[in-house]
Amino acid sequence: MFSRDTWKEIFEAMSKNKLRTFLTGFTVALGIFIFVTLFGMGNGLQNTFNEFFGQDAVNVLRIYPSQTTLPYGGYKAKRQIEFENDDLEAIAKEFAPFIDYMTPQINNGGTVTYKNESDNYSNRGVGPGMQWAEKNILMKGRYINNKDIRDRTKVAVIGRMVEKDLFNGDNPIGEYIAMGESVFRVVGVYQDDGGDNEERYIYIPFTTRQLIEGNNDKLGQIIIGFKESLGYTGAMDFQNKLDAFMRQRKVISPKDPRGIFIQNIADQLKQNQQFAGALQLIISAIAFAVIISGVIGISNIMVFVVKERTKEIGIRKAMGATPRLITSGIMLESIFITAVFGFLGMLIGIIVLNAITGDTLKDDYFITKPSINLGLAFFVTILLVICGAIAAFVPARRAARIKPIVALRDE
């Protein structure tokens, strides 16, 4: 079956029937190619999701104060809730085993000036924990520390883009920038994987902000980094306890949809991942449908090929070809073509996936680093080859059983 002569005969049949060989091969190659690229794009989409929602820390809760909508505990509705410094301490005390770090965030903004350059930037009054919550990476200097909080120092940590826009290549560390009525000393520069906009913030100690705002003790929102070891259910449990604790503390009805709002990144992330997963599932289904239609395509071509060769088979049988030789010849030819073109399609698919990794694709189509598991690509290709072989076997065996006289009569 595997003698050199057999292969010579098969190669001859293939090379002298180029169109037939090409059509069969093309179907297979196209099927695998579409599968690989489609599946790879699906993975790319999922990568984008993971990256997009992975830029901030996952194990983070944000508590926002807002207006109540229900009267409760002697208070009227439409009361504005605000967090104060003692809330921070109370949470830290009550939930110490759950908490990794904590920071308030007081948003503000305005014109920032350094020498002759000025621009508008948002600034945030925060604590040292913000570095972990935002996953800021320090490039130069230091972050806001506990001493800054205690002493209410006028220091600022600026984003990479702020440095780029205002400092014209000067080293900003130790330089002074004017924000509103105050002047701050730059102590650090950070970068953030979340993109340029995440690098346009200026961080200052929240106590300094409170001092500027007339020495109040308002906190804005509170960000809590909880311990990763809690897991998803632990985090949800923590969130519920915290919600109840804060409602009791701030006298808010447990039924009030507003008053305070807790945003749990872990919960959001899970939903987004589920969405991406569903998308990937749909893409996989389409990709497998492509493979199935590829199998049907090969089967059709094989039936046609054998039909077309009926007369040739008759001639060969008259010349002394045994049914086994006929069947194995057709099968080997089919397997060879599907294997070669299948792997070719797979290779081209992988090359295309590697080639289309770019910013345009990422920004406009949300596809990041499209790729396919090599094992899966091989599995699908081999699956197609096997299906092609089975598809060839049935008509080949029937052809081999045809009486030569019937085959020869077939004009």
């Binding site: 001859e12 049949a13 007369k311 008259a318 010349m319 002394g320 045994t322 049914p323 030789l325 081999a400």
Partner: protein, 234 residues
């Protein structure tokens, strides 16, 4: 060489059964050149197909070179065909994507003869039919007569015991027909046994013996004075 006794064959056509061969008794000696004649539907092609193991009889016995041909598996039939028989068809039946020499070498391939020897033998037989210089041409580049000569070379290449020709001149004009018959006569002169199915009188008379079939039985079996085809060929 060929010995058949009381051969019957019928074809089922829907609900009807068509009795084509109704008891044929017939034998052929070594080196004979026999014409099997008859109008269409007389059963002459069916007889040839059974002799060629391309078709099987319903009953009766068939011995080829002393070997009983009965209840053969497809594989065995293929091996016997390869060993005993050479076929020449009305429509040539060359494989259209193979050139002349590859077509001639095909039965040798199924005899598992090495490639080099195949090529040598095939070229030798092509030379004998006068087509050595056409060896690398495809059938589509050959005339009808040339195609039939390639088919004859192919039938002879395996050096079979018997050559079976089914209307070998049926698709050819008379001049070309005589050329092909001249070739067949020459091959017979060398001692090869040949059976020719034809419905043309002049072709039949170029054989040495005429067997007349009518409605599935042999009505006449006679020796004839052979007309040499060479006299019609320039």
């Amino acid at each position: 060489m060929i010995e058949i006794k009381d051969l019957h064959k019928s074809y089922r056509m829907g609900s009807n059964s068509l009795h084509v061969l109704k008891g044929i008794n017939f034998s052929v000696e070594d080196g004979e050149l026999v014409a099997i004649m008859g109008s269409s539907g007389s059963g002459k092609s069916t007889l040839l197909n059974i002799l060629g193991m391309l078709d099987v009889a319903d009953s009766g016995s068939y011995h080829l070179d002393g070997v009983p041909i009965k209840d053969l598996s497809e594989t065995k039939a293929a091996q016997y065909r390869n060993k005993f028989l050479g076929f020449i068809f009305q429509s040539f039946n060359l494989i259209n994507y193979k050139n002349a020499i590859e077509n001639v070498a095909l039965p040798l391939y199924y005899q598992r003869i090495g490639r080099k020897e195949r090529q040598e033998k095939a070229l030798k037989y092509l030379e004998r039919v006068g087509l050595k210089q056409w060896a690398t041409h495809l059938p589509s580049e050959l005339s009808g007569g040339q195609k039939q000569r390639v088919a004859i070379a192919r039938a002879m290449a395996a050096e079979p015991k018997v050559l079976l020709a089914d209307e070998p001149t049926g698709a050819l004009d008379s001049t070309t027909s005589y050329e092909v018959m001249d070739l067949i006569q020459k091959i017979n002169d060398e001692g090869n046994t040949i059976l020719v199915v034809t419905h043309e009188e002049d072709i039949a008379h170029m054989c040495k013996r005429i067997v007349h079939l009518k409605d599935g039985v042999i009505v006449e079996d006679k020796m004839v004075e052979q007309v040499r085809a060479a006299q019609y060929v320039q």
